[in-house]
Symmetry: C2
Subunit: 204 residues, 2 copies
């Protein structure tokens, strides 16, 4: 696993076997893509038999769904924490971009799967994840709107700006590697400065 | 094919059969990912036999390499045209972001393949594409540096800013669909405004 954040995603309440399978699935999907990965590949990577895998997950799609739901929930949580961290839109946005960027750099392997394999999710899981994505986007939009109302941001098209903010963060997962020159934290700080300028932040 | 730009990518000098195979490969890679696509899938989608495919391309990797090289060459061309279009860095950057964004919205299917399947390229093709990617990034960086020198931009970290500019454009391919509310051209104009602000453009 090249990805420190992965282990953090599935905390203690899961069985050790389930966590091993999730990690193995992340590794396999990242290497071959979802479609070319078999449940046997995942079981082997986790040091289990396919039969042992099925005790925990009925299919590779169920593993993808769990990875995608927990990944999206975790980014929604940090976005909502950023909003709750201050009453000041500039501070909320700074925190949001710092944390959202850091998450996608640190967890770039999971981030890539979560964002590129959406179309492979079973319908019901897709709907659940789409709902989480909308809540993330709406939180970003709410902070922008509040900042504009308070005269702290100056934004010609709020929906396009919100899209650009989330897009910049999400795309970090595509290009970031452990060989990148900036740490996830440093990249988060730099991106926050760029985004606040993009939003025409007074004092940003 | 949901993607108008695709046909523009391979102009007249190719045989009709080669173009049909490239289009079929784009469609198949987009649907299943590169690894899960077989040469038979591509041949069938092109209305040919696998044997007929091999007359034109020795492997699916050769098709991916051609799609990736032409896609990258086409974006490098537009980036260089933007640089040549003016002597004024603000105008160069405005044009660059408008065209780069438009390309990735219009050609989102090809853009997604070209950016997500890099790791699947044969070594030599990967090196050629990596070289094109560096030239794109260096052009963006050169315009930023020239703008800073001329007092037209104010940028704390030029390399991070250049990365953010290309990242915003590339990620359009991930999220843009024909159902998006903005046309590729309108999105390009809006993104150019956001990027010029990000670069602290005087009069941007």
């Amino acid at each position: 696993m090249t990805d420190h954040a992965t282990a953090e995603l599935w905390p203690g309440e899961r069985t050790e076997a389930a966590r091993r399978l999730l990690l193995a699935a992340v590794e396999s999907f990242a290497r071959r893509g979802f479609h070319a990965t078999t449940t046997r590949d995942i079981a082997t990577a986790a040091g289990m038999s396919p039969a042992a895998l099925y005790i925990h997950y009925p299919s590779k799609a169920a593993l993808l769904a769990e990875i995608s739901r927990t990944g999206h929930q975790s980014t929604l949580d940090l976005v909502e924490r950023a909003e709750a961290s201050s009453t000041e839109p500039v501070e909320q946005m700074r925190r949001l971009v710092e944390e959202f960027t850091r998450w996608h750099a640190h967890g770039h392997t999971v981030g890539r799967i979560v964002n590129n394999e959406l179309h492979a999710l079973p319908e019901e899981d897709f709907a659940a994840v789409a709902e989480l994505r909308i809540r993330i986007e709406e939180t970003v939009l709410r902070i922008i709107a509040r900042g504009v109302d308070a005269g702290r941001f100056e934004v010609p098209d709020q929906r396009t700006a919100a899209r650009a903010v989330t897009s910049l963060g999400i795309d970090v997962s595509r290009w970031y590697t452990e060989r990148s020159s900036e740490s996830p934290e440093e990249l988060g700080r730099r991106y926050a400065v760029l985004v606040l300028r993009m939003l025409g932040a007074a004092g940003g």
